[in-house]
Symmetry: C2
Subunit: 474 residues, 2 copies
């Protein structure tokens, strides 16, 4: 019961709270077939895409309704047992791991699109709806939802981690795109935050407090997000560069000139090779920007012309166009799968993924040395970046059986994060704090701000049952 | 000491807490000339643009630095005396009124632009900087700050009320444009929230919790906001319509088609008359949309063509263009002064201002009946709307000596707000809750969400010294 403190370099702190037999019995009675304490089900809910291994949760409930969530949370609250919301398990930061034991609350069956309000450019969904499912559901309206993390994540998970993806440079992140929520509090009460109006000054912005709260303040049971008209014209291209510096400088100029580029992604040569191998593509194996332009035909032409001029000035090769929707889909699917391509490039490895985001003028300083350090370390790695936002990911591919590799990766990670913080950036652009970045959070925002976060957590969840052990170290 | 409860229709609840002589002495000793208990100074800090009259604060401190704010808050906290941050006094909702007595903390002398980071499209300012001052300061960089409430408000006040204005339809509100804050907490501690990075998933979004918190969670002492490249091309036009319905339907179609219009403002015929008289303009005296288009020359042309077609289909007259920067400035200055024009159109009156915002499809339902009701009531009024956002303001011009007029205005206000809430909207798009919309807040978001807000307030300000009596009724 004496926990190891969580650190950014070590294993997560594990502090098992016993699940009382009376709670198991009550959950089983209430949820019947939607309850499981079987090891195989618990293990499915006891891992994510992070590099950590911890014991699985003590039980799993599959919620089908807000009522189910209320009842599960109230039972857990009665016994002061942790509740860990679960979507599809694609967290990179250990959000889903039961570091204090407890109940995994699987929301994947709450997967209804509740109402499409095309005339208002909004849609309301249950938390288990995935981003691809949502876009299929709204396709016939001529609208789309732009936020696209690599995985086909659930809207609940994306909301809880303040996710973004390749389109954020133009359309913003979950922070800008969630309008309203239904949430079950730590006391099992159902509250609503926000409205479908585009703006509001009505009291504290609980919506945005809950977006990115990583399951620590309540369980999200309904989400209203913005939709956008499908652009009249879409053009996508790749452009290769001699050096990372040239590609980064191209990106910086695109953003500083205010080009409303829809996607601006960077891969280094090593990662292009990995992506080609995984997705059976034949992209030119050098440093590469992947870009997409949205707008009216005239606006897209203007954007393309401006960006071509900037790229040429920086020594970029001619654009290679993805001319058909199918080619575009192939290109972006390959980009979305870059993480999986990276992990599969070293059989048996785990990825330790970084997620710094810096003001655009600091992008070259943040990125170039980090890639050099990875190359010099000898560790296999991949590098992909939402560089238009100043955000990029290194994935250090470690053998989990080799502690020295983990240590080396964590050392590279530390150097990279502290470089970003010095540049006025953040340790995490879109993945969240989870188990892995608690110390970085303190370094970034200061003890005072973290104390304010803790005070809010304590006020809303005094028994610390909502996804405990995440965001805050013990 | 037995407070009248605050209601949306009645006078604000006043609960005077005595200012101890020892505190007055300590403040005077610490702040010397920057402290005043003179009635004339207190009265200057005891009114705003709301329709309420309450006794002035007990003392005023003019802060010149974060250190000053810390010391003033710590002294007030020691005696559990209220602290009311003050900018230029342009609140429409009684935010600045000392309903529980206490110290008015005037931040208008903290008016330095601290750092312009043009290459990152960000700027950091002290809270007393006004929106016009900020735009003057960044003019030479080719960038601008778009958020523009009617008054030349301070950035501190705009942050605290989650303000917006005419450009929000394209550029968002303070919610989307504040990146980072320095805040002095109720305990007198200095914390920093956010970074200059464009996006972040680092813990709870304290920045957005504080944006719109109306001074109730802390004193904002530094603000980092986004800037935007000045558009290459700008065109502004007015278009008259036969009926309000035609103008509203034009607006709805513009938004639903995704036209990236920069400004889309509605005035009814009565208000155009008032604005003409006040600003010595000769706008055609009918229902009018005021519009502005930003972008590349080709993009602006496309937008104009689309909007002209939509307007013509709805019976709109030909566009009248504001062709020069001076004409545009004159037009938008007149629009910004509409509130003052309204108030001056009835000598001695006070305005009770509404601020509902609805999903765009409900705009006609929300607006048309409200204007009809105002016309039928016989009360003088004005109506201006940021209709591209679904947000509009009725200003009921009451004689403050006639309780029946206030009652009538409040009744119209109630009808209007409940109509907006039924349409999925909010009681306040940009002015805040203040003293006047507490009951509406509960009707809008429910008792559960308000209880969560109160729990946060209680956790961060247990002695309720930060602008008490605002947002929450006693």
């Amino acid at each position: 019961m004496n926990p190891t403190p969580a650190t950014t370099s070590g294993a997560p702190a594990i502090l098992h709270r016993e699940m009382p037999a009376a709670l198991l019995k009550a959950l089983s009675a209430r949820f019947v077939d939607a309850f499981s304490a079987a090891l195989v089900v618990r293990e499915q809910h006891g891992r994510d895409e992070s590099s950590f291994s911890v014991p699985p949760p003590d039980a799993v409930v599959f919620a089908h309704s807000t009522r189910d969530v209320v009842d599960a949370v109230k039972l857990a609250a009665q016994f002061k047992v942790p509740v860990i919301p679960f979507g599809i398990g694609s967290s990179l930061e250990g959000h889903l791991l039961a570091v204090q034991g407890g109940l995994s609350l699987d929301l994947s069956r709450m997967n209804q699109v509740l109402s499409i309000n095309a005339e208002d450019l909004t849609v309301t969904v249950q938390p288990g709806v995935t981003r691809k499912q949502l876009n299929d559901a709204v396709k016939s309206t001529g609208l789309f939802f732009p936020i696209d993390p690599g995985a086909d994540a659930t809207l609940g998970g994306m909301t809880a981690t303040r996710a973004s993806g390749t389109n954020a440079v133009r359309y913003g992140t979950m922070r800008e795109n969630v309008l309203a929520l239904e949430v079950v509090t730590a006391q099992g009460e159902v509250i609503r935050t926000g409205t479908r109006a585009k703006k509001s000054s009505a009291g504290y912005d609980l919506t945005r407090l809950l977006v990115g709260s990583e399951g620590t303040l309540g369980v999200i049971t309904e989400i209203t997000v913005k939709l956008y008209p499908l652009p009249e014209a879409v053009m996508a291209a790749t452009c290769s560069f001699e050096s990372l510096a040239d590609a980064v400088n191209t990106t910086i100029l695109i953003i500083q000139l205010g080009v409303p580029i829809a996607r601006c992604e960077l891969l280094d040569a090593n990662t292009v090779r990995i992506v080609n191998a995984h997705s059976k593509l034949a992209l030119r194996e050098g440093v590469m920007l992947l870009m997409e332009f949205h707008g009216s035909p005239a606006s897209v032409q203007e954007q393309v012309q401006t960006v071509q001029e900037i790229a040429a000035d920086q020594g970029g090769q001619a654009f290679e166009w993805a001319n058909t929707p199918e080619e575009r889909t192939r290109l972006w699917t390959a980009r979305h799968n870059a993480y999986f391509a990276g992990v599969q490039s070293r059989p048996g490895c785990k990825a330790i993924t970084t997620d710094t985001c810096v003001p655009i003028s600091g992008l070259a300083d943040a990125l170039l040395d980090s890639v050099l350090e990875a190359q010099h370390s000898g560790l296999p790695y991949f590098m992909v970046g939402h560089v238009g936002d100043g955000n990029f990911h290194m994935g250090y591919l470690i053998d989990p059986e080799q502690p020295a590799e983990r240590e080396l990766a964590e050392q590279l990670n530390q150097q990279l994060v502290h470089r970003a913080l010095k540049l006025g950036g953040t340790c995490t652009g879109e993945h969240g704090i989870g188990l892995h970045k608690m110390d970085f959070l303190v370094a970034e925002t200061g003890a005072g701000a973290v104390a304010m976060m803790r005070a809010i957590k304590q006020a809303l969840d005094p028994d610390n049952i909502m996804n405990p052990g995440k965001i805050f170290s013990l």
